[in-house]
């Protein structure tokens, strides 16, 4: 039997919204509206409701079977108890991709779980792929396709104006909103965002495989649980692209009676930590890292060693990041005499060892020379510049540095010790990868190096999926 691909979840040519009606507060109707942003779909959005009435200009039918056209994707948003029957109709129609946004399944106890397995049986028989239940489905910034329910008319305008290369899997709409809004003052933006809910079929591993092959550069995930750990590990180690995961629920999920001391200490969080290290998944420490870290990968080469040089005009920040680098397992590069020699010829520096202290009387050319000398030095793997933006030309020097990082294939993580509003303004106006705190900048270097080292490690390892539990 042919099993459908995931393509129709992201770029369907026709969609039926089952449960869209004109009653007040109808969520299906909001989906019809949001779908209309898509040029491609415009007059191929159909509403299915008992009265067969048109909804927001989308032609209405009493059943998906009555629609006189092929349907690539069916979206279901009706009471849970009606869903298994509707899924059978969809199968009969020949549609092979379904998003079930309705709640009331395995998350609500045994009856719900039974309905969910009823659905699974139908879809397996027909090679159908299902997202959900209990989810929002898909947002694709590239083609303005979005089936999130409850969105207002202009909710996604900003996202559509600037489609990006970071794709997300989220188990919560709230986290999605946080990410989308945060990108308004950042240099990266969303490619695709998927809410997978109860994951009765499509799960995070399927989506890693999908994002491996599309225009995604970085994958971000917010997960509340993991069902198929070994599949996730396998998908992650075969992916190659950076995968950033924030997982909630750090307490013991697999709390089954353990007889040995080992099993007693093996809580799910520690095991997940091990899985991340082994598969190269970057485990995030805060939800904010989901939107603050991707730019390190989209705008900078990877950090290939641990030796960092700090450039600052404030001794205080030099000390602060030296501590942070040490805690992150990175080191302050020891500059060679010849490098220091070159540095001292660039102008009136306060200090030519690491941290390099710029002093106040420094020109744009001196900035350029200092950055270039450091990027050329063998003993330096990456830069952590902390220039206070006290004159506009400082912004140009950061732009200049970005260019040079590409030339010399070494990264920099810049932090400007200015008020946050000013930093955000500079970042979004000039499209520069600036971090919002010293901690963020150091963390960016740390995960860049982690990704680099795990990519090198991956090919040596054994297969995980073939081994039973």
């Amino acid at each position: 039997m042919h099993i459908s691909t995931l393509d129709n979840f992201f770029d369907p040519s026709s969609v039926a919204v089952i449960g869209a009606s004109n009653s007040t507060f109808n969520l299906g109707a909001t989906i019809c509206n949001t779908l209309k942003s898509s040029e491609k779909l415009k007059d191929r959005i159909y509403a299915v409701n008992k009265k067969a009435e048109d909804v927001n200009g989308c032609p209405g039918f009493a059943s998906i079977l009555d629609i006189p056209a092929d349907i690539d994707l069916a979206i279901i948003i009706v009471a849970a108890k009606a869903v298994p029957g509707i899924v059978r109709e969809i199968a009969e129609k020949g549609t092979r991709n379904i998003i079930i946004e309705s709640a009331g399944f395995s998350e609500e106890g045994e009856d719900g779980a039974r309905m969910q397995s009823d659905i699974n049986e139908t879809v397996r028989k027909h090679g159908i792929r299902v997202m959900g239940p209990n989810c929002l489905g898909v947002l694709n910034a590239q083609n303005r396709f979005c089936c999130f329910y409850g969105a207002q008319e202009h909710t996604f305008d900003l996202v559509y104006q600037r489609p990006g290369t970071v794709s997300y899997v989220i188990q919560s709409g709230g986290v999605g909103v946080l990410i989308l809004e945060s990108f308004a003052t950042d240099i990266v933006s969303v490619n695709k965002m998927v809410s997978i809910g109860n994951k009765t079929d499509v799960d995070e591993a399927d989506l890693i495989e999908y994002f491996k092959t599309d225009s995604t550069e970085v994958i971000g995930m917010f997960l509340e649980n993991i069902q198929h750990g070994r599949r996730l590990i396998e998908a992650a180690r075969n992916c190659g692209k950076p995968i950033l995961i924030y997982k909630s629920g750090r307490t013991s999920e697999g709390a089954r009676a353990a007889m040995s001391h080992t099993a007693g200490m093996a809580n799910n969080d520690r095991v997940f930590d091990a899985a991340c290290r082994q598969s190269g998944i970057i485990r995030l420490r805060s939800i904010a890292e989901l939107h603050s870290m991707p730019k390190m990968f989209t705008s900078m080469p990877l950090l290939k060693g641990k030796n960092i040089v700090v450039i600052t005009n404030s001794g205080a920040f030099g000390g602060i990041v030296a501590d942070l680098l040490h805690e992150a397992g990175l080191s302050m590069a020891r500059l060679k005499p010849e490098t220091m020699d070159k540095l001292s010829k660039t102008g009136k520096l306060f200090n030519v060892s690491n941290p390099v202290d710029l002093g106040p009387a420094i020109s744009p050319q001196a900035f350029h020379d200092i950055y270039e000398i450091l990027l050329q030095a063998d003993e330096v793997d990456g830069l952590l510049p902390i220039p206070s933006v006290w004159k506009d030309f400082i912004i140009n020097t950061i732009e200049d540095l970005n260019q040079m990082c590409r030339t010399y294939n070494k990264p920099s993580a810049t932090y400007t010790p200015n008020a946050l509003w000013k930093t955000l303004n500079i970042r979004s106006t000039h499209k520069l990868p600036i971090f919002e705190s010293p901690e963020e900048a150091v963390r960016a270097l740390e995960i860049s190096h982690f990704h680099y080292s795990s990519a090198r490690k991956k090919d040596k390892s054994a297969s995980y999926e073939t081994i039973s539990r």
């Binding site: 993991i226 069902q227 198929h228 750990g229 070994r230 590990i233 999920e253 697999g254 089954r256 353990a258 007889m259 040995s260 001391h261 080992t262 099993a263 007693g264 200490m265 093996a266 799910n268 520690r270 095991v271 997940f272 930590d273 091990a274 899985a275 290290r277 082994q278 490690k457 040596k460 390892s461 054994a462 995980y464 081994i467 039973s468 539990r469």
Partner: protein, 225 residues
């Protein structure tokens, strides 16, 4: 190895005795204490003399998972007289035993723990960390999903907080890391290849000179397989 597991499962055992557990671990290429089951006082004495004093005597049975609490472990036995006394005490406890385990007494002040557990989502996992009686209080342990590469095992040694214990320590040489790494990989392979084993506890693994030696171990069986 297969024989021990099959027969134990057939008999409905939930776990293997210490003697059986260590046979499994030994067959995976990991060094264990020299030991043998004695079924009479004379046999115990002859085994003790063969290993050389001091020795340890332990009551051995698959249902006896907390031997120390039942007074079934007699440490540091120095001569024939003490051997006979210990044998007498253990065998008169009224518990049904496979025999009395006579083993060489390993001296070393560094104790580690190695274990195998099964996570509902991630499957077999190997644990390594600081062993001994404070293991669960210190929780200085780290995990990897099986099977492990040697590189995975090497990283585990670097991840525990008290990793300096693996270096030269109070006149003892640095631990044979190759042997430890091989042991961790072997435990992972056991978990990955053998569904009948649900959990493994090796505690302590004592460093004798520079060699890690399994002193006590417990294998929990999965009766469903």
């Amino acid at each position: 190895m297969k024989q021990i597991l099959d027969s134990a499962i057939k008999k409905g055992q939930k776990a293997l005795s210490e003697y059986e557990s260590k046979k499994i671990i030994q067959s995976a290429g990991i060094e264990i204490t020299r030991e043998e089951l004695a079924h009479s006082p004379e046999e115990a004495v002859s085994l003790a003399e063969n290993f050389g004093y001091p020795v340890v005597l332990k009551g051995c049975s698959d249902i006896l998972t907390h031997k120390t609490e039942y007074g079934m472990v007699k440490l540091n036995i120095q001569n024939e007289e003490e051997t006979l006394k210990a044998y007498q005490e253990i065998s008169s406890s009224g518990m049904k035993l496979d025999g009395v385990l006579v083993q060489e007494m390993i001296k070393g002040n560094r104790e580690f723990v190695v274990g195998l557990s099964r996570d509902p989502q991630f499957g077999p996992c190997v644990m390594f960390g600081i062993g001994g009686i404070y293991t669960e209080i210190m929780k200085d342990v780290t995990f990897r999903i099986a099977p492990l590469t040697e590189e995975d095992a090497e990283e585990m040694l670097e991840e525990i907080r008290m990793k300096e214990l693996l270096d030269e320590f109070r006149g003892s040489p640095a631990v044979d890391r190759r042997a430890l790494i091989k042991a961790l990989v072997a435990i992972g392979d056991l978990g990955a290849s053998c569904d009948q084993i649900a959990e493994i506890d090796i505690n302590p693994m004592i460093i004798c000179g520079n060699r890690p030696v399994v002193v006590d171990a417990l294998v929990i069986l999965d009766q469903k397989s």
